[in-house]
Every structure is written in C-alpha cells, then in structure tokens.
Symmetry: C2
Subunit: 330 residues, 2 copies
C-alpha cells in the first residue's frame, strides 16, 4: 500500500492551499478521494509566521497520512505558490494547459522529508490593456477537463467567488481570462461603506423575497451603461432611505447588482464564442453558483452545466502530468 | 449691529453641518463672510450623543457670536437635517430651487434660545429606476446660482466628493441628478480590499508620475464597457504584481479608473445637454476638482468653470428665501 500506483491504494496527497483555508486529499491511484480534511491554516492564517508555519500546517493536516504511506508524492495548488506562499511558483503564460503547469511547477522539500510539487499560477497578457492573473483556478479547470474532455475542445468557464474568473478554453488550453472582484467588492461595500449601515445584521428574508430583490438588482445592472457602477450601487441606500425596499432586502439587491454587472460584462466579452454554441460552465460552491445561474436566467442565458469541487481531480491530473503517478485506470 | 440688515453688520449665522465636520459663518447683510470657524463635530462625531450633542457643538462654535449679536437668525444645511441629524428636514422633490428649500425648511429651537432653520435635502425620482437623494449640495448650488444667475438658466453642475453629484439645472431649478459613490468606493477599496495591500503607505511619487498613472486609469475607464468595473479595478493589483507599474503609483491609477468611470457615465447621461452648449461647472475642493478637470481633458471635454466653497453664499440665499434677512444690497 505504501506507494500503490494502481487500484484503490493511496497514491497521492493533494493540497488545495488557499488564502484562508487548507484542504488536503488522500487520493487513490484511480483518482478517487480516499480521505479528506480541511483546516483554517490558509497562507494568511498560518499557526506561526514564515516557513515554519507552512511546515507546521502541513504536518498537522497530513502527518498521519505520511506515516501510514511513506514516500507518497505530494502536490499543492493555490496561493501556497504565490510570492507570500511557501515557495513562489511564478506565473506561466496563456495559452496554458495541465502539461504547462506541470513543466513549470516548483518543488519544495519539507522538514518531514516529503517533496511537495507546487503548481504555478497563470498570466494572461491581452493584446491591449493590463495583464490578468489567476492562481488556484487553473487546478479546478484541470479537474473539469480531466472528467469531461469533451468540454476541453472549447468552452467558457465561469468560476464565481471573491475574485471570479471567466476563462476561455480552446483545444484543452486556457487561452484568455478575466478576473472580476465581485465577491470582495460586495463584502467591503457591505462591511465598510455607508451601504452597510442600512442593512440589518439579523436580516432573514424569505427565499422568494430574497430572490425578488436579487432579480431587481440584476435587472438594474442590465439597464446600466458604461461607468454606471458607482452610481447604481447608491440605490442600495436610496431604496432603503425612501422605504421603497425593506432594509432586510438591500443586501440581496446589492448582490444582484454586483453579480449582474459581472454577468453583463462577462457575457459581452464572450458574446461571439457563446453565439457559436460553446458550452458555458459554472464551477464552484453550490449556493453561489445557483445565484449565478439565476442571474444568467434573468439575462436569457442557460449555462450548460454546473460543477462543484473539481480541485482534487485537477491536482491528480497535475500529478499525472508531472510524472509523479500513473494516469487513472492504467 | 445686533440684527444689522444692511452693510457690513452681522446679519446671519450660517452652519454647514455635515457628517464629519461643522463649519460656521458669521455673515454680513451684504452676503459676505465676516468671520468663520470649523470643528470636527460632524453629526457622526458629536461631543455627546443625542440632542445634547448638537446643542453642545452649536454652543461651542457659535456661543460668543450669539452673545455679541443677540437675536441673529441662524440657518443650517447638510446632514444636520437627515434622519440622524438634530431634526429631520424631509427631502423635497425635483424640480426644486432655493424657494422650494425655504418653504419646506424645518425649524429647531435650541436651548440657547436661538431658532435654527434647517434646509431639507432633495429627492429625484426618475421615470424608471431607483430614486436618488442629496443633502448639502443643494446649498452649494444655491450659492452658485446666487453669484452667477446667468448659469441658472441651464447648466450641468458636478460636485466631486465622497458621493459625487451630477446635477442638471433648468430655469434656476434642479430638475434631475445622479449620485456616484466614487470617493467612498475608492477609500474602501484602498483601505479594506486586496488592492490596498500593494500600495505603500509612504508613497511619494512626483507630480508627473502621479498624473501619468491617473491618466492611464482614466483611459482604461474610457475603453471599458457595461459592467466592466469590478474587472478593471483588478488591474490595480495585476499591474503591481507583474511590476509593470511601480507600487507607489497604483493608487493614482485606481483613482483615475474610478473618476474615469464616473466621468464616462456622467458625460454620457448629460450628452444631449452638453451638446447643446450648456455650461459644465465643477464645484468643490480645489485639488479634487483639478483631478476632475484633468480627467475631463483626457476625455476631450473642457469645463466652463470651477468654483470652491459656495456653501456660505448658498446658506445666505436660503435665509433670504426664508424671509429671515433682506436680499444682499437692498
């Protein structure tokens, strides 16, 4: 069982190591998750500063796996490879696929004797305008493409979140992408701007009320023109002040506005590709993706499919591409 | 001198009472400022909670004026008339002019025996979409129109700030306006989002560097389409991470992006009016207005004029319209 490369024996430890959490997966040679764990030791929240913090968080999460399965390869993706991570794995350029990630991965030797292979992030340099970057999403995308190679030919993938990503795939490779700071902008406006002052902390609207306010925000976004963002968000105050919307729904309205703006922009930039009938995929946490599905519906677009938690499969493919383990099923 | 209605005798105490500061003006019968003071006792920062806090702040600022000039009328504008103010002066609807403000002003009797007449804010209810509100800017506008009645026929007035206002004037009345949360959004993104992390606290770029980064932000805003806001602001991170822009310039770039978005939207909504040759006026603090002038220049628009601190003159006109004092010069 120690380095079992086929069947259901443990073959790989895969780490999805982000800013605020660390998730670990013990994986079988067939690509299935045998065991999994998570803790809050994201790179901004380590048990102690510096390299020792990474060592400790890794040992806490995976120590017994490493003892039980000596010599098991370890891979990691996400912010652990950023400039503030355990070791920096510099960005690779678009077009990029899982092979590109593997060929430019960076190893780090842990004090426990394990070697951890860290996946790089990806940089997109458009013909004009500023560059864009992602780190972590490339692993989720690798997971989607491993499970659904039919989508790898060409697809538009949307990964909602703190920093949402809209990624265009052609020939199995990421060829371009755009980041939207939707989740983070929503959070800072609610927590730190005047808009949050009218929002009751104990708001508990019904699902129907919440949906109606969200939909009103999406429709407002749809009616907006260039530059209207900082004007339109003020409505999350004026609707409350004038009592035209109950205070407990203002947050849903603002959420609709922000997600609506992202959808209007993202769909606009992918217009030609979607018109050609490429699949539109949503990848991410269930409740958030459902809001995006609802927003798309309001804009007359139906996504092709919705997938959750594709990171373990992506890390497995990354390990295969790096030659650490044999492909599943071989 | 006590209630001198003409010449240079003190005729009025005028208070510009906002969220974070209280400014007081002792004014002559000719509308000139004889004396002025300010302290930090904005309505969110009173010396004690509740009505007692307003009483105390007023007495601290104006006590000796009231002793020296017994019976002097007192007027106030700004957030002091909001629901969180000394007494609420409900919004009046567009179209509204100084006479409208005066006819719907709300008096409050202070413990000192003075009666303070508080100006209402203004509400604009567009044919479709959410309402908009302002409070305090109506006084600044009243000041502009008093000094420059030629602009009262029709004009577009821009009042940059935490919440910028774009106001259309026709026939001396505010007929519509839009709020942009430009200044506040900029502040919360710098202070509370990931964008601030790359910005050094001790940045001291040269004026030319600062201007070039600001201009790059404005040009990016100009190139943006509907919904692009939360995508475009991420460039204030990627340009830093990829070292394509020095970290000390990222704040200026973000400022250019935000002001650029406001200008693109505001000019778009005022397109027809400006095309007809109406004056475009900037009203507000010098350094901020100069950034707006620069942004407009990059977009090929030259404002007609720029005015600072028109609130005292506006409060004077408000007092005249309310019949508290005679018009200047009479």
């Amino acid at each position: 069982m120690e380095t079992g490369r086929t069947g259901v024996g443990a073959s790989l430890i895969a780490l999805d190591w982000g800013t605020s959490s660390l998730r670990g997966f013990l994986m079988g040679g067939d690509g299935r998750v045998l065991d999994q764990r998570a803790n809050a030791h994201g790179i901004q929240n380590l048990p102690m500063p510096g390299v020792a913090g990474f060592e400790q968080a890794f040992a806490d999460l995976c120590g017994d796996w490493l003892t039980a399965h000596r010599g098991l390869p370890v891979v990691a993706g996400g912010m652990v490879g950023s400039a503030q991570g355990w070791r920096e794995a510099p960005y690779v350029r678009c077009p990029a696929d899982t092979t590109t990630l593997a060929s430019q991965a960076i190893p780090v030797e842990s004090a426990s004797g394990s070697r951890i292979l860290i996946a790089p992030g990806v940089l997109y340099d458009p013909p004009s305008g500023p560059p864009d970057i992602l780190r972590g999403e490339e692993i989720q995308i690798a997971g989607v493409l491993a499970d659904r190679p039919d989508w790898g030919r060409d697809a538009c993938m949307v990964l909602p979140g703190t920093h949402s990503k809209w990624v265009e795939i052609v020939g199995g490779r990421m060829i371009r992408f755009s980041t939207y700071m939707t989740g983070e902008t929503f959070a800072v406006l609610c927590k730190h701007s005047i808009l949050g002052r009218l929002m009751p902390a104990d708001a508990a609207p019904t699902e129907a009320e919440s949906d109606a306010a969200f939909a009103e925000g999406v429709r407002a976004a749809q009616a907006g023109g260039p530059g209207d963002f900082t004007h339109q968000i003020f409505a999350a105050r004026t609707l409350g002040i004038t009592r035209r919307m109950p205070a407990e729904l203002l947050k849903d309205y603002l959420s609709g506005l922000l997600i609506g703006h992202e959808l209007v922009s993202g769909l606009g930039h992918m217009r030609n590709e979607l018109h050609e009938g490429r699949p539109l995929l949503l990848i991410g946490e269930g409740a958030l993706c459902r809001r995006y599905v609802r927003g798309l519906e309001l804009l007359g677009v139906e996504p092709t499919d919705r997938l959750e938690n594709t990171a373990p499969r992506g890390l497995f493919q990354f390990a295969v591409a790096a030659g650490l383990i044999a492909p599943a099923g071989e």
